[in-house]
Structure formats: C-alpha cells, structure tokens
Symmetry: C2
Subunit: 340 residues, 2 copies
Amino acid sequence: MGLDDRKLAVLRAIVEDYVATQEPVGSRALVERHQLGVSPATVRNDMAVLEEEGYIRQPHTSAGRVPTDRGYRLFVDRLSRVKPLSPAERRAIERFLAGAVDLDDVVHRTVRLLAQLTRQVAVVQYPSLARSRVRHLELVPISTTRLTLVMIADTGRVEQRLVELPAPLLADAVIDLRRLANEKLVGVRLSDTPPLVQALIDESPPHLRPAMTTLSTVLLETLVERHEERLALAGTANLTRGGLLDFQGSLRPVLEALEEEVVLLKLIGEVEASTLRVRIGDENEIDNLRAASVVSTGYGPGATIVGGMGVLGPTRMDYPGTIATVRAVARYVGELLAQN
Amino acid sequence: MGLDDRKLAVLRAIVEDYVATQEPVGSRALVERHQLGVSPATVRNDMAVLEEEGYIRQPHTSAGRVPTDRGYRLFVDRLSRVKPLSPAERRAIERFLAGAVDLDDVVHRTVRLLAQLTRQVAVVQYPSLARSRVRHLELVPISTTRLTLVMIADTGRVEQRLVELPAPLLADAVIDLRRLANEKLVGVRLSDTPPLVQALIDESPPHLRPAMTTLSTVLLETLVERHEERLALAGTANLTRGGLLDFQGSLRPVLEALEEEVVLLKLIGEVEASTLRVRIGDENEIDNLRAASVVSTGYGPGATIVGGMGVLGPTRMDYPGTIATVRAVARYVGELLAQN
DNA sequence: TCTGGCACTCGACTGTAGCGAGTGCCAGTC
DNA sequence: GACTGGCACTCGCTACAGTCGAGTGCCAGA
C-alpha cells in the first residue's frame, strides 16, 4: 500500500506542526505553514488515507489530526532529517563536561546536561560493573575481624563492602591477602571472575584460606551476582512541561516507573552496540510508559560500551533534536572516559 | 485573647478532619464527627474567633474552614499527641534496614522506607564528609603520572579522585607517599585537615614534595572546600497523591526544587543536634516550597550527628504520624551505623 | 454563655444556545 | 484522472442563566 511522496510530506508536516504547537493540526493550517503546493481539500484526502493506514488519528470528529505511535515511527525511520547541533550547544556540552573531577561528577553532569538540552527527563547508567575490569583491590582493616573491601574498576567505579571475617586476622595477613587477590584478579573482567575466585581460594596458604573464602563470597555475591548497577536521573520537573496534556493527564505512572531502578535499567541498559534506539509509546514494554517515548544509546571509551544513557519524554517530542543531542552527549562522554 | 480549651479542641478537630478528608470542614460535620458537646452554632462562633486570629480561613464564603500555616503550627506545637508506631511498622523498619550491605545500600533503603511509610517524598543525606574522620587513604597508580586517591571515612563513605602528578613517580615513592599521608591524617576530622596538610607537605622528603603538594591540593579542594555532599531521594510519585489539589495546582516548582541539591541540603542538612524540625508552608525559605511542609532530623551513631534526613509533603499532612516515623527511622539508622 | 432559627452568599452543577474549526463529499475544471 | 472550490454537517468550547445546597453570620431567646 504505497504512500506517495506527497502523503509522506503531509505526515511529516503534521508531526512537525503537532510537536511544535501541541495542537491537532488541520488541513488549512498545514497548507499555510508548509509549501505543499496543493489545496486544503487535497490535503484532506491525503489525511483520510493516512488515517486509514493508522499513521494519524482524530481526537474527535471535528478536530484536526494527531500522529499515532505508528506515525511517529514512520517519521523517525524515514522522514526526519538529522538536525545538527548548534555550535552553542556543542560548546555547552564541552564546557559542561570538562570540569568533572571524578566519575560521580561526570555522570551527574552528563545527566543534568542531557535533561537541560533536551528539556526532558534524562537517565544515565554508571559504567556497568559487569563490563568493567578490576584495576585494584584494597583491604582496609577496621578491627581484627572486620575489614572494608574496596574495588576500583578501570571505568572509574569504586565499590566498597564490609567483610566480616570468620576469625581474627593480623595486619601482615591482611597484606598477604591483598597481594594474592590483586595478583589474580587485577585486569580481569568482573563477569569473568567466578572461575578465578575458586582458584584463588585453592591456591591460598591454609592459614589465609578461611578469610579468603569469605572475601571471595562477598566479592561474588555483591559485585557480580546481583549485578550492582547505579543510575542517575534528572529533569523530572520537565515532565510538567506541556501541562498534563502529555502522558494522558497523569504523571503518576511515569513518576512511579522512574523510581524503579529495574525499569530504568531495562530502558537504557540494554545496549549491545552503540546503536541509538528509539522506543515510541506502545513499543515500550513497561505499561506505565505507554504514553512516553525513550531515546537511548550506549556509551563508552572508544568502541566498547560500558553503560547506557537516554532521555524520556512524551511521544510528542522533537525526535530529530533529541536524537542528535543524545548521540552527541554520548560521544563526548565516551571521549572523556577514553582520556582517563 | 486567649484561646480557651474548646477553641483549641475545635482547631484540632478541623486539622484532623481536613487532613483526613482534604475538604474544607463545616460546623455541622465537626460536631457530628467529634464529641465537642456543643451545637454547630457555638462551633461557628469559635471558628469566627479562630479565623480572626489567623489559624483557619475560608477558601470562599459559603465554604467550610481550612487550617492556615499558622493553624498547623499551633497544632504541631501544642495540640498533637505523639502517635506511636504500630508493631508492624517497627518490624518493617527493622527488617528493611537489616539487609543492607554497605553505606550506599543503607541510604537507599532508608530513603525508600521513609517514602513508603510516610507516603511522601523522602530525602536522606549521606554522612557528611565534614563530620567524618579519615579512616584510610589509598593511592592506586594508573600510570607513572596519574593515580587515583581513595579516601575511606569512618562513616563508611568512600570518595575517589584522579590526581595528575606534576612529574612521574616510581612505585616505591607512591608507597612512601601513602604511608606519610596516612600517618598524618588517619583519625582526623576532614574539616580539621587544612592546617595539618601544610605540615604534611613541609615534612615530606624533598623528592616527594611536589607530588605531595598536588595530592594535598586535590584533597583539600575537592573533599573539604567544596564540601562534597551526597543525597538520595525517593517517593516523588507520592506528590501526585491528592491529585493536584495540594501544591496549589502545580508540581512544577516542587519538582524543580527537588532537583537542586543545594536546596535539599538546606532543607535537611542544617542539623546541629538531633532535634526534629518541622517547617510548615511559609516557614520554608525556599520560594518554590511555600506550599509544602518539611519534617527533618539529624541522624548518626550514638549522640553524634553525621547527616540529616527528612520528608516533604503538602502542608496538609499527617504531622503526628510523619514525625513519629521520621524520628523512628532516624534512630534505627543511627543504631545501624553505630554497629559498623 | 449557649442554642435554634433564619436570611444570605456563593460555588458547583445543569441545560441551552451560538460560534468556529475542521471535516467529508460532490460537482466542476484542467 | 488528479486537483479544487464549495457546501452541509459535526462537535467541542464558551458563555449564560437558573437551580441547588452547604455553610455562614447574626439575632433573639433560654
């Protein structure tokens, strides 16, 4: 069922106008604002076809047309031209990210930047532990039977855990423990540690074995098995933009979804390659977000992906602009990470 | 112009009913639901006085009465009886907090717990660095001119920073550097470090002095001077409870305020003793929160305070219940911290 | 000092009418 | 055959008038 070029142009015009004005767009307004070269009546005929095909719909009989999720999808896939960032935006990104002092800072700045540039809700996942390598393990004694395990990853993430030892341990023993653990584990992907950890225990001298066992358990349980992911969120206030018209009148479900880490991870964490992904309305698997769209991408130093980031807003969003921004920010952050 | 006991009882009844129903309360409903022992007409007279004194007001002529900020204040100060937590709530608190594996986990669990129990927005400040003591400093070389500084505080907080050395440093030198820094700084309050740091530089052997100087700069600048506070937030979805009637119709300003760390710190971070504080509506210094109330308190192991936590909701909130919950959660968290 | 009664106010709701944006369809034109 | 102008029709929105009822303030009387 072919849509000819003009019908596509009409759809594009409808999407653009609706995104800009947030009001159903009628045939007259359309020919006035766009150079379609035909009369309103013709446009009406085209609209009838587009509606039949499910790309647009009428809120009520005597109203203009509004794009459907399917319409946005077609728009994103075939009709939108990439909107290059303005130099001012590029500079803003660079300046904003340049001052970061550590990973926390990078993530926080990034998420605020994204929220500010897109005027939507932004989510940034910290570099995933599963995709990180161990750079260093540190053991800090607190008492003779307790120590703090600090793991520093090559992605800049630092995690600490309290370890309750089965028996008191002398300072020298702690040093041995640390040396052994570091020898075996530094440079290893966290997701690859499980088999190595067993070897680590087996090769420990007998007097260290109980301590090494508990240490390994903590390491595996808290850092690998329940994969400890962290997130930063910003821009929730932007949800109130568009005054309750978006999100079919209630922010409730959206705010609820945003509180669930699991949900957010699902949204932006499922990244294999650095391909940018757009999920529009119904395409979202989370029920609470059927009225929202998500633009997400992976990021990382060079070609490797260490985490995801993205933006969430009403289905009626500026897709070309948002896509361009998300892509650009992800690239800058990647470069920043590569430097460290 | 003393308010006699009955007038106070009327005020209490108005506050309780309004909080429960969220609708202006009239004189008839009042005598029906509370044993005041007088007729509606008498109550009306009392109401007139209460209104004159600024404790209640009428949204419009011909409507019931609603408490003013001043009315809530009087209620909180003199009229509310402490509402003891139910055993189920106590158990929920204990169970919820018991499973925490590290400081991050404690804070996250606490904030979710608070939000859930009070059905409002909860904020928890991480133990403040300024109030923490150094437990250990670790230096992890990344290259010959770069190392990661990790500071572990006695409150469980762990901070890391990248240090760019002015000149390459050998592994042995790094070890010396770490030893020196730890000797001088372990056990010291972060807020007390500045004078010690100068001594630390002066006493370093010449070949370590440049490195020690940059190290100290990083330490001071990022950890002490711009006091690095962290926060956790939960329950924003609860703002939509009460369907836009609270917060005079717009969540916008509230959500905006909640995004500003500085604002939140001001709300819950200004704690000297562990006294619980209630700020009602206009008493808040932040303009965006004139329609909100905040219940906050300090927490920490034993009698020392290391940070603040609190809850934010509509002025029309269940003060006795919220106060009891915040107090109880803060105490449990304090006990938990004392154990570690 | 309290109470019952009464007149009054005013927001909420309902029904009606007019307006206007927008459509679908049809006959006519290039 | 594709496009266009014209026209009747739909229907949401707004304004307006009328009614209802909750709640008040006040006053005379117990």
